[in-house]
């Protein structure tokens, strides 16, 4: 019996056996609450996906943290920076595609669970999609303004 092996086996069991089962529970909850017109369900939906993808997320965190040598003082900063880059340049463009699909859905009303269609619904999603695609530019614009203002008012 070895402490490290025991801990590793317990964590692996939780991640590989229990979490996918919890994911199924979350999917059931998401479907049930989707049927209730005024209940939120997306947190269960994302939770279910997350539970199925835990090993993948672990590899992702390792990839972010493994960009530097283990004792490098910059390793934490580089890991967070890589995560921010990944979110902004991989996940947000995907979110843009989802937002466009949502805009179409909101305009047509096929996703409405209450029968109520918001007039500005599609515009809201299109705007969010464009913001998602432009985040890097928005950050650069903000930095430009800050840099330009650093010298004070003339």
């Amino acid at each position: 019996m070895n402490f490290y092996t025991g801990v590793l086996h317990a964590v692996n069991w939780a991640a590989d056996v229990i979490c996918p089962i919890l994911g199924v529970f979350f999917l059931c909850a998401a479907l049930y609450f989707y049927g209730q017109a005024h209940s939120r369900y997306t947190h269960y939906w994302y939770g279910a996906w997350g539970m199925f993808l835990i090993p993948g997320f672990m590899r992702l965190l390792e990839a972010f943290a493994g960009k530097t040598q283990p004792g490098d003082p910059d390793s934490y900063y580089v890991a967070l920076y890589s995560a921010a880059n990944w979110l902004a340049n991989v996940i947000l463009p995907m979110n843009a595609v989802v937002q466009i699909a949502k805009a179409i859905g909101a305009g047509s009303g096929i996703f409405s669970r209450t029968g109520h269609i918001r007039v500005w619904g599609p515009v809201h999603h299109v705007f969010l999609g464009m913001m998602s695609l432009c985040l890097s530019s928005i950050v650069h614009l903000m930095l430009h303004f800050i840099q330009a203002g650093a010298g004070g008012l003339h």
């Binding site: 019996m1 070895n2 402490f3 490290y4 025991g6 801990v7 590793l8 317990a10 964590v11 692996n12 939780a14 991640a15 979490c19 919890l22 979350f26 947190h43 269960y44 994302y46 939770g47 279910a48 997350g50 539970m51 835990i54 997320f57 672990m58 965190l61 390792e62 972010f64 943290a65 530097t68 283990p70 004792g71 490098d72 003082p73 910059d74 390793s75 934490y76 890991a79 967070l80 995560a83």
Partner: protein, 221 residues
């Protein structure tokens, strides 16, 4: 001038009993680990104290090297009195066979039950589970400490403490990242805050880097 035999035998007995004493301290440390209410509380208080004593008992010969100016030759002697020698052997046997190999495992089973009760109360079961694992693996923990123990090195105590930290940072911290990930997903599904788990998950993976950064700040790098 030779030392009185009674004194030599007493010192030799105490030196012979330092290994069972270290094992008992490890047992108490594992109990303290499981007795905490959350994982962060493990490192404060009784756990650290008992681990400290276990390390001191294990590295006592190396600590005595710092006082080699005094006559410490009696610490090298073996017990000459047959009764004391038998007592030492039987006490070592008692600790090894009863406490470490049987009692610790039985108590570990109770900590598993405590983990489930923790869960039922909505508390974290991590401290109880770690205590359970530690009690079930006391022998291997001792072997691990022995493997880090550099006999004859006057700095063995400090080296052992650092080696145990490196073991925790390199082996246990990545497993803790996995637990953080599960906590993140659980929190997302229940609409609870999770950013602190993401930050600590990264920190667990970058512990050596953060240690390098801390030393760099203090000019120790």
């Amino acid at each position: 001038m030779s030392n009185p035999p009674l004194l030599v035998d007493t010192v030799a007995l105490l030196m012979a009993l330092r290994i069972p004493a270290a094992l008992l301290c490890l047992y108490k440390a594992a109990l303290s680990m499981g007795g905490g209410w959350n994982a962060s509380g493990i490192f404060a208080g009784a756990f650290g104290r008992w681990m400290g004593w276990a390390i001191i008992f294990l590295t006592l010969p190396e600590l005595l090297l710092w006082f080699s100016g005094l006559d410490t030759s009696t610490t090298q002697a073996s017990v000459s009195n047959p009764w004391l020698s038998t007592f030492s052997a039987q006490l070592t046997d008692f600790v090894n066979k009863l406490v470490i190999r049987n009692l610790a495992i039985a108590v570990g089973a109770w900590f598993l039950l405590r983990a489930i009760v923790n869960l039922a109360h909505g508390d974290s079961p991590i401290a109880s589970l770690l205590g359970c694992f530690a009690l079930l693996s006391l022998n291997s923990l001792y072997t691990l400490m022995e493997s880090y123990h550099q006999a004859g090195n006057p700095y063995a105590t400090a080296d052992l403490v650092l080696s145990l930290w490196q073991f925790a940072a390199s082996k246990l911290a990545p497993a803790a990242t996995g637990v953080c990930l599960m906590g993140i997903i659980w929190s997302v599904a229940h609409k609870r805050p999770w950013l602190h788990l993401a930050g600590s998950g990264f920190a667990f993976l970058c512990l050596f880097g953060l240690w390098g950064l801390t030393k760099h700040y203090l000019g120790l790098a």
